[in-house]
């Protein structure tokens, strides 16, 4: 076999490789400049955009404080000041996470952020919110205090009524702790990663194209009667 033939066989073998195909598909879907961009469209200029990254930042603080709590075990925070401090940080970062996520979702709703082939971006965000709810609930029932006793005995009826109680028993601390520190966070993080990658792939949704009258009104409000030359979406 000649050197040329050998190289051709090697090339075709690489092309058939699963690894090469995954890499090529990944790079094609998300080239580095899309994955980690150093510029963004000029319309991304509103405080509402802060809440997406605030949700991610809150999730990071939740995971970090949760890891510290997990390192010392579930009872640590009840009898040490440092433990109680990290439990409080964990609690407040959860509250911030939900607050930021709700504002982010409302913001994205009013932007109709599913436009332009971005339905999956909305859907992964919505599912993340829905999965975060039981993730937080399992935290509340893993607290080993009166709140955990009351919430678990009250919420069990809803779980039992739909048959979920058979494998999601709120009064079983061991099971709830496993759900809280591993299974549900894994689901939330997986969904968030998918959501962020989809955002990076499709980009931030562009503004609606407004009607001419609205633009004229804005321009007159600014004392500039002549509309500038269009340069935006689809121009």
């Amino acid at each position: 076999m000649s050197a040329v033939e050998k190289a051709s066989v090697e090339k075709s073998s690489v092309e058939r490789s699963w690894t090469a195909r995954v890499r090529e598909a990944g790079v094609a879907a998300l080239p580095p400049e899309k994955l980690l961009p150093d510029s963004q469209p000029t319309y991304v200029a509103s405080w509402i955009y802060v809440f997406g990254v605030a949700s991610l930042a809150s999730l990071t603080v939740i995971i970090l404080s949760g890891m510290i709590l997990a390192l010392k075990g579930p009872a640590w925070w009840h009898y040490t000041g440092v433990g109680h401090f990290f439990n409080s940080v964990h609690l407040w970062s959860v509250e911030l996470f939900f607050f930021a996520m709700v504002v982010h979702l409302w913001g994205k709703y009013w932007m109709a952020a599913w436009r332009g082939g971005r339905a999956r971006v909305w859907m992964t965000g919505a599912v993340t919110f829905l999965v975060a709810v039981p993730c937080a609930l399992t935290g509340y029932v893993s607290q080993q205090n009166f709140d955990a006793q009351w919430i678990s005995t009250q919420a069990k009826d809803a779980m039992n009524s739909v048959g979920v109680g058979a494998f999601f028993n709120l009064t079983n601390f061991g099971q709830m702790y496993s759900y809280h520190v591993l299974l549900l966070p894994l689901a939330v993080v997986g969904l968030v990663v998918a959501h962020v990658l989809l955002v990076r792939r499709h980009g931030v949704v562009p503004p609606f194209e407004p009607d001419r009258r609205a633009l004229t009104a804005l321009a007159e409000e600014d004392g500039a009667p002549d509309l500038p030359t269009p340069t935006g979406v689809g121009s």
Partner: protein, 335 residues
């Protein structure tokens, strides 16, 4: 394209952005955001800390509410408590089994956490008490009796206790059939109750010493993380509810989303909790299932917003977007 496909696919004139770009440091922004949120969480921690009220125990319950404890234990013994009559996943009864039309999901996975309230909450803990011939004889007499006799004994014992509890709740003079000794022992004048008063007196003494807590947690194995049995026993009684009411945590007080103290709790459950406050869910015997089905439907709608005509069109019709992209429109870049 099918008609359904046309309905689901909205008219979408969004085109890729061809306008200007501004410099943006994603990694720097992410790092700053984590720093700011961490700082905010620490400030909230310093200002408000977090709630941590000690859990209740069966020992505490039996000491603070001895009449309620023996009344509950008597119901566990004769199988008339909420847990005893519950149904799946705890037993094969149907007291709390919910359904919607032909759907009975509560029965689909059967009894996954079996609880025999008579054995688990009364008989087995009493069997752990050594060297008590009177108790041993009472246990033997109770277990040898036919079920009907056991029921009759249980009812004869529970009736004066219920009257006592009702009178206490209504601040009336309690009936003379029940007396609570200064030591906390409960005397019930029920001659038709057979060996039940002996069983209950011993169980109360065992509970006060912490023996019932221990018995319920170590019944299967040494290492234990499943609190289903003690929690359901306590939930049948009145101590948890008494504490919850004082903390505004009852279902009628939007309790599912609250937590002890003045903390925000699980505010994201507001819609779920809301349904429990209104009819027909409020008084439905299958209220939990009804609420879960409504929430499942709403959750599905939430996920599918991009495909629901009307809901997906509102953002265009209610121009909040003009506020969000005000600077962009002001610059005239979005025409």
């Amino acid at each position: 394209m099918s008609r359904l496909g046309r309905v689901l696919r909205s008219h979408d004139d969004t085109r890729p952005w061809r306008g200007g770009y501004a410099a943006y440091d994603l990694v720097k922004e992410a790092c700053i955001a984590v720093g700011v949120i961490a700082l905010l969480a620490i400030v909230l921690t310093i200002l408000f800390s977090s709630p941590d009220q000690r859990p209740s125990t069966i020992a505490q319950w039996s000491r603070e509410l001895p009449v309620n404890f023996v009344a509950t234990a008597a119901k566990e013994l004769d199988g008339t408590s909420a847990t005893a009559e519950y149904g799946p996943p705890y037993n094969h009864n149907s007291g709390s089994v919910q359904h919607f039309l032909f759907l009975h999901p509560q029965r689909w996975l059967g009894v996954s956490h079996p609880i025999d309230t008579s054995l688990d909450y009364v008989i087995d803990p009493l069997k752990t008490i050594p060297d008590d011939p009177t108790l041993k004889a009472a246990l033997a007499e109770y277990q040898a009796a036919p079920e009907r006799t056991q029921k009759a004994w249980g009812e004869a014992y529970a009736k004066p206790l219920e009257e006592y509890e009702t009178a206490s709740e209504e601040n009336k003079t309690p009936p003379k059939g029940v007396s609570v000794e200064p030591s906390g022992a409960v005397e019930v004048n029920a001659s038709a109750a057979g060996p039940v008063p002996t069983l209950m007196t011993s169980l109360l003494a065992l509970a006060k010493s912490g023996g019932v807590d221990g018995s319920l947690l170590t019944s299967n194995q040494f290492f234990q993380t499943d609190y289903t049995k003690p929690l359901l026993f306590m939930a049948d009684g009145g101590l948890l509810e008494k504490r919850a009411e004082a903390q505004h945590l009852l279902g009628t007080q939007w309790g599912m989303m609250n937590e002890t103290g003045s903390y925000p709790g699980q505010v994201w459950l507001w819609l779920y909790t809301f349904w429990y406050q209104v009819e027909p869910f409020k008084s439905s015997p299958s209220g939990d299932l009804d609420v879960m089905l409504v929430m499942a439907l709403l959750s599905l709608a939430f996920i599918c917003v991009p495909f629901i005509p009307g809901v997906r069109d509102l953002p265009r019709r209610i121009p909040i977007y003009k506020l969000i992209w005000r600077e962009h429109y002001r610059a005239g870049a979005g025409v």
